[in-house]
Amino acid sequence: MSMLDVRNVGKRFGGLQALSDVNLSIAENTVHAIIGPNGAGKSTLLNCFVGKLIPDTGSVMFDGQSVLGRSPHEINQLGISRVFQTPEIFGDLTIMENMMIPCFAKRDGSFELNALSAISRQKDIIEHAEVVLEDMNMADKRDLTAATMSRGDKRRLEIGMCLCQDPKLLLLDEPTAGMARADTNKTIDLLQEIRDKRKVTIAIIEHDMHVVFSLAERITVLAQGSPLVEDTPENIKGHPKVREAYLGESV
């Protein structure tokens, strides 16, 4: 059964056709990678999933419901969580607080005027956040201000924040960009664990083929705003069209 169904999506920016006629289906409980050269429209496509952009044409269905016209927080409440290319966290807040906010969103919905009870009384939230912190291996840093962490840690925190919500679909935008090899491997391990243990459907944009082939079960190659091929990793490797798209070689 498909978790996310993208039909005939097109998006234009002025004179530039960023996406045209994109059809894509992400199956439940798979890791689906979207790759392609720079400017292929990967991030634009992702932005159409989370309400940051509204496509000019086509439809995006998630779990049987259209996401178009919904605002980001509504889409998130449907079950889509996103990790950004540059980590988006609450830099002025502590790591624990960063973890707690998605827990609140999960428990209370998009708005709850909970203005009088102390945070320390929210036992269930604290417990939930602590478990995820433990999973992310960050329990010892819980009281640090988030902005002071390394980029790798910020990324892990952001992934952890998404996991707090037990999303149905996790969108990852270049999660290892700018990471050292060791950190990248750690991230791969983490994501594999998420895939295996938590049964979360994952869509990932990635340049690093090592990451892609370690994780993905399906791969869509995007070039110049439309899907070139979609197949298993084995078949994508050495696919002539892919080579052409990446290297500009004609076959």
Partner: protein
């Protein structure tokens, strides 16, 4: 206690002690001494300290937590004052209905203005709030004169209906605001040697309400709601992609802080039953911004300190005139006396604006965290002297880590 952590409770306790003992603390100099000029412990100024403290605490809930800089908050204070005075005119001189109406009307006003203004952020939001407040001022001063009293302000008259109270006192005067017969202006005095301390009913009413407001602010700061507001300031985009709708959060903060302003306005009218349109002028909105930043935005106690400092300058420094200066320096040789007076004179009395401007600049340049940061630095310095341990001191005034 009261659902607060130990640190917060201590902070509340400190505030309570400061506020309750203010009549002593603000009058450190004996009557008749040269320094008595600097005493601030008379009812009107003490009332102003706590009333503007409430205003600034409320403003800080919006600005300090969410980072939304409203440049029109004085409008809510003005609307609160007008509501309260109308209550005195129509219903009775009891301050309870007046203050309640002030808070409610200011809240509704804030809801409407906030709903529109919060569609934009950053400086666009600031300008929208400024525009609404300036419109309120301009209309209140001119075409709305029948409702607001215009230039002279809305004041009580002998022929007001006051359906639940007396129209005129036995002596033929307008009755004064009271709390079930306890007049706001009543005072008792305590003379200790040359010292004189005044205890005013109105001040203690304001002080109790201010402590309640401060307590409420602590609860808000420490609540999930407060955390969400800080998250909005930190990264609104992340909040939205985390499934939270920032708009109702900011609107709630806006309305709450508007109600604080209304409360301050209602109290102001209760202490002195006249409401002038200048209270809504943009400089009045600017003043509360300055109070908050001067004290330390986002800290609990900062805005209260900032409010106190500015009101002290306005009321004490502005009253020093050249005759008093000559009195200070009378012991110097004649030439030197004149020289000293000439040097100091531009900064006091009618020059108090200059001193205010210089202090703002100095604080912003050297203490970006406001007076609270200054206090912390001082504290750290002392601690470092005491123990050579290099462990950085934890600040207990800013929201806890």
């Amino acid at each position: 206690m009261f659902g607060l952590t130990k640190t917060d409770f201590n902070l509340l306790l400190i505030i309570a002690i400061l506020v309750l003992l203010a009549p002593f603390l603000l009058n450190p100099f004996p009557e008749g001494s040269k320094l008595a000029q600097f005493n601030g412990g008379y009812p009107d100024l003490m009332q102003r300290f706590v009333i503007f403290g409430i205003f600034a605490i409320g403003f800080n809930i919006l600005f300090g937590l969410t980072g939304y800089l409203s440049f029109g908050h004085a409008a809510f204070l003005g609307v609160g004052s007008y509501s309260a005075v109308w209550m005195f005119k129509l219903l009775s001189m009891n301050i309870i209905p007046a203050i309640l109406l002030a808070v409610i009307v200011a809240g509704i006003f804030a809801l409407v203005i906030g709903y529109v203004s919060l569609r934009r952020s950053g400086i666009y939001f600031s300008i929208l709030t400024l525009a609404f407040a300036q419109m309120s001022f301009a209309l209140a001063y001119s075409v709305l004169t029948p409702i607001t009293g215009g230039e002279t302000g809305l004041q009580l008259a002998l022929d007001d209906p006051r359906v639940l109270g007396i129209q005129v006192t036995e002596q033929g005067n307008i009755p004064v605001p009271s709390l079930f017969g306890l007049e706001m202006r009543s005072s008792a005095e305590l003379a200790l040697g040359p010292w004189l301390f005044t205890f005013n009913v109105g001040y203690y009413v304001c002080a109790l309400i201010m402590m309640a407001s401060f307590y409420l602010a602590i609860r808000i700061f420490r609540s999930p709601f407060g955390m969400m507001l800080r998250a909005i300031k930190s990264n609104q985009q992340r909040l939205n992609y985390t499934g939270l709708n920032s708009r109702p959060y900011t609107l709630a903060a806006f309305v709450i802080s508007g109600m604080y302003a209304g409360l301050a306005g209602g109290l102001m009218a209760s202490m002195d039953p006249l409401a002038g349109a200048e209270r809504m002028f943009w400089t009045a909105s600017g003043e509360v911004v300055l109070m908050t930043i001067l004290g330390g935005a986002g800290t609990l106690i900062g805005p209260v300190l900032g409010a106190g400092m500015i009101k002290y300058m306005e009321n004490i420094i502005s009253k020093i005139n050249s005759a008093i200066l000559h009195e200070w320096f009378y012991w110097l040789p004649a030439g030197l006396e004149d020289f000293m007076v000439a040097v100091v004179y531009p900064f006091i009395g009618k020059g108090w604006h200059l001193t205010l401007g210089i202090i703002f600049m100095a604080v912003v340049i050297f203490l970006p965290g406001g007076l609270v940061e200054g206090g912390q630095r001082l504290l750290n310095l002392i601690r470092r002297r005491k123990s050579s341990s290099a462990e950085p001191a934890k600040d207990n005034l800013t929201p806890p880590a």
